[in-house]
């Protein structure tokens, strides 16, 4: 329906049966649609060909060290939170070629990796994830040095956000002030409204481009009641968080506590498997590997994501700086919650809870932060 042109910030309603139109409108514009889908007993991010690929009627039950999918009693399309994947899979890329070099008579020729930047649309981005993307933008797109691959993927990105109406067992976005409502950084934002009366989506246009795409769909005006229901379910969600994190002066807290015995405690549990870094939407460390072919004429440099929990990570002539698991766990958590703030002006944690869910030994970052904070209090009461 082509009605009067929409304004940025305007909210309309798209009925459930018209959701496929969003897919069509984006495909027509050349976007490859990426979003949640069920695979391998989890909800992961992958290419979607239609509405049917979405995890309709599924929900996730998450807690420390546990994740499992359950069938819902209703047909909610977005009735779950976040899974093991994050959008860095498409923006930062787990593995890629940086350049190739040819050795020849005339010398060394370095050829930059020529990739065709895919035009992608992310469908189903949660508020915490919008914040995570913004955090990585600061590092790779907005600073003195720019990652050209990240930047071009980012510039050709269409984001359809989803406001959470149900919090996950390990979520704490309210503590980190990153949700559950998406406030910026999206082209469109959907809030699912599902009850015995209807199944529809309240759609907010976040950008000019968003209004154009929305304009091509069969939307209708949003009633006061529909807006109220949508807003209240998001508000209800903010009170359902599975975890909390006290962020008051957390940077100073962790800077003071490098020698806290709690680190030994968590080290006795931590396997240094690095799952937390892999699922974390803001972890960005990468490493570089140089290859050469058998003839020795062609060399290649590839970049892949790296994990600060390995012995290799801090290796420098003779040994690793962080040779104990304790030091490596401490590095990860202190970086995420404290030094990140000095480096980038914001916390590195968006409260998505993935690290808690996917830790095989159920280490909970909110619990560790609480234990450190409380260890200081007990000291004071003793003296």
């Amino acid at each position: 329906m082509v009605g009067p042109s929409l304004q940025v910030g305007e909210r309309v309603v798209l009925d459930r049966q018209h959701l496929q139109q969003l897919f069509d409108a984006l495909s027509k514009r050349g976007y490859r649609i990426l979003g949640p889908t069920v695979n391998d007993r989890a909800i992961v991010y992958d290419e979607l060909s239609s509405v049917d690929d979405l995890p309709t009627g599924w929900t996730d039950e998450q807690n420390a060290g546990t994740y499992c999918l359950k069938k819902r009693a209703d047909g909610a399309v977005f009735g779950y939170v976040v899974g093991p994947h994050s959008w860095k899979k498409f923006l930062l890329q787990p593995e890629m070629q940086l350049w190739q070099a040819k050795s020849a008579e005339s010398g060394l020729k370095v050829l930059e990796g020529k990739e065709v930047t895919p035009k992608a649309a992310f469908l189903g981005v949660r508020s915490c994830e919008l914040h995570a993307i913004a955090i990585q933008d600061r590092i790779f797109a907005d600073g003195e040095y720019v990652d050209p691959s990240y930047k071009s993927r980012r510039e050709n990105l269409f984001i359809v956000a989803v406001n959470c109406t149900q919090a996950g067992g390990t979520c704490f976005c309210t503590s980190m002030e990153t949700g559950p409502k998406a406030t910026s950084g999206f082209d469109l934002a959907l809030t699912e409204v599902l009850d015995d009366k209807r199944h529809c989506f309240l759609v907010e246009a976040g950008t000019e481009l968003g209004t154009k795409v929305l304009g091509e769909l069969s939307y209708r005006e949003a009633s006061e009641e529909e807006i109220a229901v949508a807003e209240s379910s998001v508000e209800k969600c903010s009170r359902q968080m599975g975890r909390t994190m006290n962020t008051s002066e957390i940077k100073e807290l962790l800077y003071r506590n490098y020698e806290n015995p709690r680190w030994d405690d968590v080290a006795s549990r931590c396997l240094t498997c690095g799952n937390c870094t892999m699922v974390c939407p803001t972890c960005f460390c990468t490493t570089v590997e140089d290859y050469t072919d058998l003839s020795g004429q062609l060399a290649e440099r590839r970049r892949r994501m790296d994990v600060c929990f390995t012995m290799d990570f801090s290796y420098i002539h003779g040994g690793s700086i962080r040779y104990s698991p304790k030091a490596r766990y401490r590095q990860w958590m202190t970086h995420k919650l404290a030094t990140w703030i000095d480096q980038f002006g914001v916390s590195g944690c968006v409260g998505c809870g993935r690290c808690i869910t996917w830790c095989p030994v159920a280490i909970d970052i909110t619990e560790e932060a609480r234990a450190i904070r409380e260890s200081e209090l007990s000291h004071r009461t003793i003296t």
Binding site: L98, E144, V146, T286, R301
Partner: protein, 276 residues
């Protein structure tokens, strides 16, 4: 900044010189119509050996003569050992310069104490060149250098030239030596009491193994130097050189872009703390 900072540019080896049994110096000239970027003393380049890998190496040449890049390095790993076997005319990839530099401006009008340990002398040589070329801008200049044995001393001829000047105090010591050595034996910190700089107006710059730097800082503090007058150069594992890969983190600092030169008072809480 649209150029990909991970792209390396081919430079040709103009000269490769063995300094000691495990340390060598490369002189590099750019290939084709690449312009060498000017660098400040203390900065480093990422040097790539075709098909082998890349390492961060401090620039050790004269900042005023930046058409030739000079790098002195020790052969300790796969890349530097491969580098050592290269010949004149071979190509090396260069990315940079990266990092912070020595406080040459802040040091003007002050006495300058340079303390180098072992392979720590190459990153300081560019500042000595700059001090000497603008000699009148600075007070007394001390170059204190310590190495493992006399066989490990670098740039000996040059140091003798500096020592011959009446306006530079050069003092060298080794950790151990045999009878023919007529010089000092003892750690480099023992040279500090004999250097008569004015602690109220001195800038100290040092590079060496972390332990040596910590002892040197203590000795300078004993002489009355404030933490703001002391500059150190740190080293950590680096993969990118400009703050993207996360490897070189040292507390909240990225050694590649907040360092490698740090003013001591800024990093004091982290220096000497285990496994940071």
């Amino acid at each position: 900044m649209t150029a990909n900072p991970m792209l390396t540019y081919p430079y040709s080896i103009k000269r490769i010189q063995q300094e000691t049994y495990d340390t060598f110096t490369l002189e590099l000239k750019p290939k084709g119509n690449i312009q060498t970027k000017p660098f400040a003393p203390g900065q480093f380049n990422m040097l790539y050996v075709f098909g082998v890998g890349e390492v961060p190496i401090s620039i050790s040449g004269d900042p005023d003569k930046h058409d030739v890049l000079v790098h002195t390095t020790r052969a300790v790993g796969a890349v530097t050992n491969a580098m050592r076997k290269l010949r004149r005319g071979d190509l090396i990839g260069v990315r940079g310069p990266f990092g912070t530099s020595w406080p040459m401006e802040e040091a003007k009008g002050c006495d300058v104490v340079i303390v180098a340990g072992g392979i720590g002398l190459p990153p300081l040589r560019p500042s000595v060149y700059q001090l000497l070329s603008q000699r009148r801008e600075y007070g007394k200049v001390f170059v204190l250098y310590g190495a493992r044995t006399p066989a490990d001393l670098l740039y000996l001829q040059e140091m003798e030239q500096w020592r011959a000047r009446s306006d530079v105090h050069v003092d060298i010591t080794v950790d151990r030596a045999l009878r023919w050595w007529r010089g000092n034996v003892g750690v480099v910190t023992t040279l500090i009491p004999r250097a008569d700089f004015d602690p109220t107006s001195t800038i100290a710059m040092m590079v060496g193994p972390e332990i040596m730097m910590r002892f040197t800082i203590a000795e300078l503090q004993k002489r009355g130097l404030s933490d703001e007058s002391i500059y150190i150069s740190m080293e950590r594992n680096m993969k990118c050189g400009f703050g993207f890969c996360g490897h070189c983190q040292f507390g909240p600092f990225f050694v590649c872009k907040d360092g490698p030169v740090f003013r001591y008072d800024r990093v004091k809480p982290f220096v000497g703390k285990g496994e940071i």
